[in-house]
């Protein structure tokens, strides 16, 4: 078995890459990986449906976190997919035997160690395999407190599940990890990229404008008598799930990002970043408020009021816009 220290994370992909780097000698926190990947976003994507509801994303699409870190830190990664599941499992065994820690993309549903309440068909979950004992693979699943185990048959099923974002057995590991990197340059480039995505996005459903768009959408639904009673509460709980349930570290990744700003500010002795961190955390608090009020309205403990929800979302948007204006001064 390979020596490996499991570390719990909020999110699977940032957790996996931060752990892989730390294991390879380049210590990195999860928020640092998330921030350097410029992974924060907001996107309202009506044509991608998740159980019949529009996709609402608070972070960049799968694999972007690993690729973003790769680019800004200057590491080299090996990626591999398989058309034959048996070959995919054999290759995993071979790399484990060679002493590697291997990252896998899997479905959540077919992993037996997930609690029943969390088993949904989502194909872009990331985890690390660090060994094998008999038929069991030893797994460091970043969102769990402790290392877990999974038998070969179930792991194969999870790796080769079909559907949206199908992993096709995707496995990856670093082939070169630098001893250090230039944090000034990496953070400037990452924050600039993130600023562009949040403030300068060409579509009205992306970035800060997208947050306001969602507010208008809720008002529209609340004014439609046929959708107000049944559909709107479902719609609101869907937003809350996207924002909180999917390993976001709270408030749709806003707290993770604030943590990245704080950590970078401290390392570089930069007061601007420290201030931006506090501002982003306040935006996060507004998002939590939105979740709380939506939940009350959805449960009928508070009268349904679309305008009130839109107002909270506009406050989130205002706060984030202000934060990015400040951050613009850091990266320009």
């Amino acid at each position: 078995m390979n020596q490996f220290e499991h570390r719990q994370s909020a999110h699977c992909e940032s957790g996996v890459i931060a752990s892989l780097l730390t294991h390879s000698g380049l210590a990195m926190s999860e928020p640092m990986a998330f921030g350097l990947a410029a992974a924060l976003t907001f996107a309202y994507v009506p044509f991608v449906k998740i159980s019949g509801m529009p996709l609402i994303a608070y972070r960049m699409p799968p694999r972007r976190i690993i690729k973003g870190v790769q680019k800004r830190v200057g590491l080299k990664m090996h990626y591999q997919t398989f058309s034959d599941p048996a070959k995919g499992m054999a290759e995993l065994d071979q790399q484990l035997q060679a002493g590697r820690i291997v990252g896998l993309q899997t479905s959540v549903y077919w992993l037996p160690y997930f609690p029943d309440t969390m088993r949904f068909h989502f194909n872009a979950h990331n985890l690390l395999v660090y060994g094998r004992e008999g038929d069991d693979y030893l797994i460091s699943d970043p969102v769990f407190e402790k290392p877990v185990r999974c038998n070969a048959q179930a792991l194969q099923k999870a790796r080769f599940a079909k559907g949206a974002l199908a992993a096709k057995g995707m496995m990856y590991y670093p082939t070169y990890v630098p001893e250090s990197f230039d944090l000034v340059q990496a953070s400037t480039s990452a924050i600039r990229a993130n600023y562009r995505g949040m403030v300068r996005a060409p579509l009205p459903v992306i970035g800060v404008r997208g947050i306001r768009y969602l507010g208008r959408k809720i008002v529209k639904l609340s004014n439609d008598p046929s959708l107000r009673e049944e559909y709107l509460p479902l719609y609101l709980s869907h937003i809350v799930r996207m924002q909180e349930e999917i390993g976001t570290g709270g408030a749709g990744f806003r707290f993770i990002y604030a943590s990245f700003l704080r950590e970078t500010g401290k390392a570089l002795n930069n007061d601007l970043l420290a201030e931006a961190s506090e501002m982003m955390a306040e935006a996060g608090d507004q998002w939590r408020m939105f979740a709380l009020v939506s939940s009350k309205m959805g449960k009928g403990r508070k009268p349904l009021n679309g305008d009130e929800l839109a107002n909270i979302l506009n406050r989130c948007a205002d706060q984030e816009a202000k934060t990015w204006q400040l951050l613009k001064r850091y990266c320009s």
């Binding site: 719990q8 994370s9 909020a10 999860e30 928020p31 159980s51 549903y109 077919w110 609690p115 029943d116 309440t117 969390m118 088993r119 949904f120 068909h121 969102v143 769990f144 407190e145 099923k157 599940a161 079909k162 559907g163 949206a164 199908a166 509460p233 479902l234 709980s237 869907h238 809350v240 799930r241 909180e244 349930e245 390993g247 570290g249 709270g250 408030a251 707290f255 993770i256 604030a258 943590s259 704080r262 950590e263 401290k266 420290a274 961190s277 506090e278 955390a281 996060g284 608090d285 939590r288 979740a291 709380l292 939940s295 959805g298 449960k299």
Partner: protein, 140 residues
């Protein structure tokens, strides 16, 4: 959010006894990972999604018992899939699967076709042929 404000709503959680990492601010303004046992707001949203799945299981179960749909639809719901996902997983067209929801047609399906469902749904072919004696999904 401050460290002390991280919800610990263990009695109303959807984490199945696990704890989840949330980032919050400590007294110095630094962020720390705090393990949370649950948040009622989030749990309610998850439960709403689980309720929906449960309703689909109950509905397809009783329709299959009345002979209005085939056991296939029940097994699909039990695996938390919808028609679109089952279609992607098996490589069969949706209309074809819908046709297999008709009990007389489903009863005549060849094992080669059933094998594709068996693989997608992770059940034996013989199991798929009829409803189980008791519902597989938990009654809430």
């Amino acid at each position: 959010m401050r460290e002390a404000e991280v919800p610990q709503d263990s009695e109303n959680s959807c984490y199945g006894g696990e704890r989840k990492l949330i980032y919050a601010m400590d007294d110095l303004g630094d962020f720390v990972g705090v393990k949370s046992t649950g948040w009622t707001v989030e749990a309610e949203a998850t439960h709403r999604a689980l309720e929906l799945i449960h309703r689909q299981c109950e509905d397809s179960w009783s329709r299959a018992q009345r002979g209005e749909t085939s056991a296939l639809e029940y097994y699909m719901c039990y695996r938390r899939m919808d028609l679109a996902l089952l279609s992607q997983t098996t490589g069969l067209f949706k209309w074809r699967i819908r046709r297999h929801f008709k009990p007389p047609i489903y009863a005549r399906l060849k094992d080669t076709l059933l094998a594709r469902y068996a693989q997608a749904l992770e059940f034996e072919i013989d199991t798929l042929k009829q409803l189980p004696e008791q519902p597989l999904h938990e009654s809430v």
